[in-house]
Symmetry: C2
Subunit: 199 residues, 2 copies
Amino acid sequence: MKPEDTGEDGGKARVLRADAQRSTDALLQAAKEVFAESGVDAPVREIAKRAGVGIGTVYRNFPKRSDLIAGVFRREVDVFAEAGQALAGSDAPFEALARWSGLYVDFLATKRGLGAALYSGDPAYEALPGYFRARLEPVVRDLLENAAAAGEVRKDVDPYELLRAIGSLSATAETGGAETARRMVGLLLDGLRYGVERG
Amino acid sequence: MKPEDTGEDGGKARVLRADAQRSTDALLQAAKEVFAESGVDAPVREIAKRAGVGIGTVYRNFPKRSDLIAGVFRREVDVFAEAGQALAGSDAPFEALARWSGLYVDFLATKRGLGAALYSGDPAYEALPGYFRARLEPVVRDLLENAAAAGEVRKDVDPYELLRAIGSLSATAETGGAETARRMVGLLLDGLRYGVERG
DNA sequence: GGATAAACGGAACGTTGCTCCGTTTAAATA
DNA sequence: TATTTAAACGGAGCAACGTTCCGTTTATCC
């Protein structure tokens, strides 16, 4: 049971009081449930209520709305990044990339509103893209470089741009079904394969 | 000077009172300006203020927020649809499709928040996708069918899906620059060309 | 068992989309 | 032109939201 604070500074470990730790845990759990049911735009009050905690407590632990969202998805994104690193070792690099992309589409599809929030530019969600980028860009980079080294895709595509593009296309999954998103992402990836020789 | 009501029923032409006509015009003009400055999420009160009109008047003429947005962009979308139809006559069908896509990216890039609002699924913007779809899907269909008939792209892509995909990718233009969006749309279109023979 | 600072909770503020209704006014009628 | 009437007006008001503020409670340390 480490202190485990909310920020990503592993440095000066401020020891949380027991009640604070409880509140943080309850909030993350409640937020996870509420996000799953009502999307990431769910009212903060609802999350506070479900956690059995006052609104003030929410904002002390998660100063911005996006901090709460980031907190909820941090572990899941981490899991995702690991899954990607595993795939990056594949000897069928393009298929690995495609598979990972499919997983990412599904991942965002089950987190209602997350895809839209990620790249909305809304300052309320400021903290989100940073964390996602930090964790997932290296994964995409690896997958992409492997596929490029194998001559399966072109080399002139920026990993972060591709990550954003997949995320954007996944945002349509919420209103149009995940199949559409998957097809469009598939199309995008096929674009990576078009004209490889001169890429 | 026809009655020119707000709805799309060309039928029973309800004659607007002169002041009502003035209000509608002023609102459309004000909304256009405000949207350009602050994006489509700008407060209704601000638009009302600039138009020199009460809030009640806004909601009588445009019951939902999206009706106002649709009203503002209606003409521009129409122009867009015409430009597409012109391109559809080209004898370089894929290039026509690519060119039109580029125009669409730029179009959405200059309308801050429109891309995000279009396919957000937010009920507040309900009326938007319908109008965009009605006007633009036939265009994409033509462009796509022409290119497919020329053997330049595959045949198994749904025009509306493609339209949405381009729109979604354009949404990233607001935070990441239009170049990124254009590159990603280019990638998507290259996907259309990948493996044509078996499409 | 104090002392103290950390954590708490919720009232309150400002902003938003939208409704409601008493007031004004364009325009048809006499 | 005077009267009538329904269309259009404007903005107070409502509910919901994100966020701040601060008096109260409580975990922890000595």
